[in-house]
């Protein structure tokens, strides 16, 4: 089992992780965080491989990956 943890307050909503995830498992929140950004969310935790590609592509180190 694998998964990611997004720090919603650190996320700036750039959507790079959305584009990078090879399984397209990430999408953006409906909510804004306190700095006015929508933040990344893992949509289908079951399918996450923990490949960490999203994390390595996040400019704000807002994603931790677990496996």
């Amino acid at each position: 089992m694998a998964g990611i943890k997004v720090d919603g307050e650190r996320c700036k909503g750039c959507e790079l992780c959305v584009a990078f995830c090879p399984r397209s498992l990430i999408s953006m929140s409906k909510q804004f965080n306190s700095r006015g950004y929508r933040y990344a969310e893992l949509t289908d935790p079951e399918r996450c491989t923990g490949c960490a590609i999203c994390g390595r592509g996040c400019p704000d180190v807002a994603i931790e990956v677990y496996r």
Binding site: K12, F32, S34, R35, G36, Y37
Partner: protein, 188 residues
């Protein structure tokens, strides 16, 4: 006559344009005016603000420390600037993005669903014009006509349809402020 205004919000909310429209309108009407942005390292999504002064006398500092009016387009701006408003001053805030209610009792407060209304009009970017309309109605320092006349000078590349949208947003803002002021008057 001296009116000192701070307008603040996220970058990208059209904060600077609001201020420039106001200043330009003041100039058109023969006032002394100044506008100055907060300036700093480039950063999208950061907060931005500008100060506008409209005066019948020569203007001293363009930087406003104790504004007559604050227009706050997001929560951090409200938190930062509302406390500095002069007693009996005016606060206009974008209640679409701000979920707290300002506490000060010694000022006039107008809540405007600026982002919401702008979205409803078809373009969230017109939220600034909604708030500006509210300000015009509440303060009457410059006329609606002067602001409308200034749109072309300040945003020369705007298409006619966007101009129309902006004017519509402006008017909507004026209406809302009118309603609220009536309510608050009837309350007080």
């Amino acid at each position: 006559m001296l009116e000192e205004i701070i307008i603040a919000g996220f970058g990208g909310q059209g904060i600077m344009v609001m201020g420039r429209l106001l200043a330009h309108a003041g100039m058109v009407e023969g006032r002394n005016v100044s506008w100055i942005p907060s300036y700093g390292p480039e950063m999208r999504g950061g907060t931005a603000n500008c100060c506008v002064v409209i005066s019948s006398d020569p203007i001293g500092s363009p930087v406003v420390a104790e504004p007559d009016t604050v227009i706050a387009m997001n929560r951090p701006s409200l938190e930062k600037f509302a406390p500095s408003i002069k007693p009996s001053g005016l606060l206009i805030y974008n209640s679409s993005l701000i979920d707290i209610v300002p506490e000060r009792q010694d000022i006039t407060v107008i809540a405007v669903r600026a982002s919401g209304i702008a979205s409803e009009l078809g373009d969230i970017r017109a939220a600034n014009m909604v708030a500006l309309g509210a300000y015009l109605r509440a303060r009457g320092v410059v006329s609606r006509e002067a602001v409308v006349d200034s749109i072309r000078a300040v945003m020369p590349k705007l298409s006619q349809s966007l101009i129309d949208l902006n004017v519509k947003a402006l008017d909507k803002g004026m209406d809302i402020a009118g309603d609220q002021l009536m309510i608050s008057e009837s309350i007080s």
